[in-house]
């Protein structure tokens, strides 16, 4: 019996700017840069970090595979690991629903703890990602490596969108406006989008 259809996990920390989601299953997380639709009213959260760590912060994870041939073997011979480790998503809150349409920007209220996180539908992701506010929000965030996240996000959105090229172009333009005085940085991002 798995989690309800397509559900990723639950919010375990939330503030206006960011939230953390704990995945229901170890290693079963959307990739970096994916958008999640969290809670009700929905808030859009961009996955900026995927981490797997001990559920109990007090218990360090130790190496176990010295004699194992494969990682799978390590997990097979230590079945408890599935329950002791958990995959968490650090998310940047990037948008919300206003008048029925997704808009980039911070929501009036953060999602509730234990709100469910679902993958964001492609059309909503597309609307968010190509908005100029989205680029600005990300670039001005205090993420340690916002560019990596941006690249991951746009590549993903580009692949999922009906008109991927158009999306990348709109998003690229938005980025260019923000990074017009940082060409090497802009270039590094754009290069990885094609």
């Amino acid at each position: 019996m798995g989690p309800a259809q397509g559900r990723i996990g639950e919010v375990v920390e939330a503030s206006s700017r960011r939230c953390a989601v704990q995945c229901y299953r170890l290693y079963e997380s959307p990739p970096l840069g994916a958008l999640a639709r969290v809670g009700d009213p929905p808030v859009y959260a961009l996955i900026t970090e995927v981490s797997t760590e001990a559920l109990d912060p007090g218990r360090p994870v130790i190496a176990r595979g010295e004699d194992a041939a494969t990682v799978e073997e390590v997990y097979r011979s230590n079945p408890q690991l599935d329950k002791l480790l958990c995959t968490r998503l650090r998310c940047l809150i990037v948008g919300h629903l206003r008048d029925g349409a997704p808009v980039a920007g911070l929501p009036p209220l953060p999602p509730k703890i234990h709100s469910f996180a679902h993958p964001c539908p492609a059309d909503e992701a597309e609307a968010l990602v190509s908005s100029p506010d989205f680029a600005r929000l990300l670039l001005n965030s205090d993420l340690p490596s916002p560019d990596e996240v941006i690249v991951a996000c746009l590549r993903l959105a580009g692949r999922q969108a009906a008109d991927g090229q158009g999306l990348l172009h709109r998003a690229g333009n938005a980025l260019a406006r923000e990074l017009s005085d940082q060409v090497p940085r802009l270039n590094a991002i754009l290069r990885r989008l094609t």
Binding site: L168, H169, G172, N173, L175, A176, R177, L179, S180, D181, Q182, V183, P184, L186, N187, L190, R191, L193, T194
Partner: protein, 549 residues
Amino acid sequence: MSVDGPLGEPLGMVVEGSLSRGVEVRLNPGVSVEEIQEGVYVTIKGERRLFFGMVTDVSLGSSDPRLAQSPPDVSDPFIARIVSGAVTYGALSVMPMLTMPPVLGDEEKPQPAKTVPAHFSITHRASQRDMEVVFGKEDSSRFYIGNPLDMEAQVCLNVEELVKRSTGVFGKSGTGKTFLTRLLLVGILQRDVASSLIFDMHNEYGWAGQDTDRNRQVQGLKQLFQSKVSVFSLDPESSIRRGSKMDFEVQVGYDEVEPADVELLRQTLNLSEVAAAAAYDLERKFGRKKWLQAFLGLAGRQEVYELANEIGVNTAALATLHNRLSQLKRYAFMKPRALDDSVKRILERLDQGVHVVLEFGRYGSNLSAYILVANLLTRRIHQRYVQRTEAAEGGSGAAPRPLVICIEEAHRFLNPNIASQTIFGDIARELRKYNVTLMVIDQRPSAIDSEVMSQIGTKVTCSLDDERDVDATLSGAQGRRELRSVLQKLDPKQQALVFGHAVPLPVVVRIREYGAGGSFQDLTRPKWQEGGYGPPTDEELDEQLKALD
């Protein structure tokens, strides 16, 4: 190319500027700098009014000063597309020159711009309509001289304004000065606003001209305008050889030469100041009108020495003078006394509204002959104009018809050493007081006296190489810095920067094809002139066909 309609293709928006420096226009992302050349016209839709201006510089800008050190991967079309426009952009420097009437087609005329368009005003490529509003349509006072760069619109010169002041046609050799001058003369002829006297040094204006590029002949003014043009010649042999229809053979009598003429020949004859000044002593000795014949009549060195002693002139100087002036004897047109009074004949023609081309024939290559004759004739014609103008002012008789005197190699008459003494210098300086203006054609404008240059009303300048020539041409012009860069980028042929009284603003013109499509109909029977001179006569057609052979 240009968009017909109220406004042309939008190019970008004004981001900064000043009246003295002009405004900066940032190009829209889709517009490539490569599509816009310097000298192109734009209209800027300000908050309150429409400005008309010229692109004086095209530049590339970037919002990142380090762009050059780490350029983006523009080989990737995606990156190139995004970077251009957002990070890199094209920019135009635009000199706002006119404010246009708020409603096109208004009676109001464009006015010189006294302010600049507000921030973010949208800049458009000037449309056909804009150009028409500014440069007017070809009509009874405006002559279609050519097209602005990049546009099919016409640039028209106000010919009435043109002839009111002196005109300069400059450009290095082969740039099209002669063709251009011929066009200007056509413009004057078409509108009949003045008569002209052309000192046709190289025999290019009267009957036919040489189109060296296409290696053919083009029709000269006589062929085009027949009875409206009279060809005078110093060298009938040459005229006959060239098949030129000559109306009058010009002879110059020794009695017509004055000591001042000798002064003018100092350079070409390589005379010292003392030697040139000796002519005045000779005149005193032998009397007006007689001195030259007497002087040249001296037989041998001894007589010259004796004369020198007699009139107290340095013997060596006088000997040199004698030696050099003796050259005149070799000129067939020089006679002890002319058979007919050429000046009178010329004046008659001019009074009738006929334009006179004086062909020099083989003497065109002899500067001394050219300078002597041009100066001599002009001086006397001018005298008559002065007299008649003053008489008209005094209430007796009509003022003479405006006259445009056309000289090639103008600096020979107008260089700073002699400009104050020659009749050409006088004409240039006195403006149109006596209804005479100059059309000076020169490849060395820097050699022309700056005071004269400053009196030139309209300058039509083809490509110039020499910095000094450029400076001389632009001295006194508004927006010199911008015009300078425009001027430096002219094509080496058939392109000119026109500025001054005959145009509302400086304009770069692709000079219209003289004899476009092998036909000269557009010159003789311009569209605006319904009927004009009527259909060509059989005779005219025959002549045209002959010229084409």
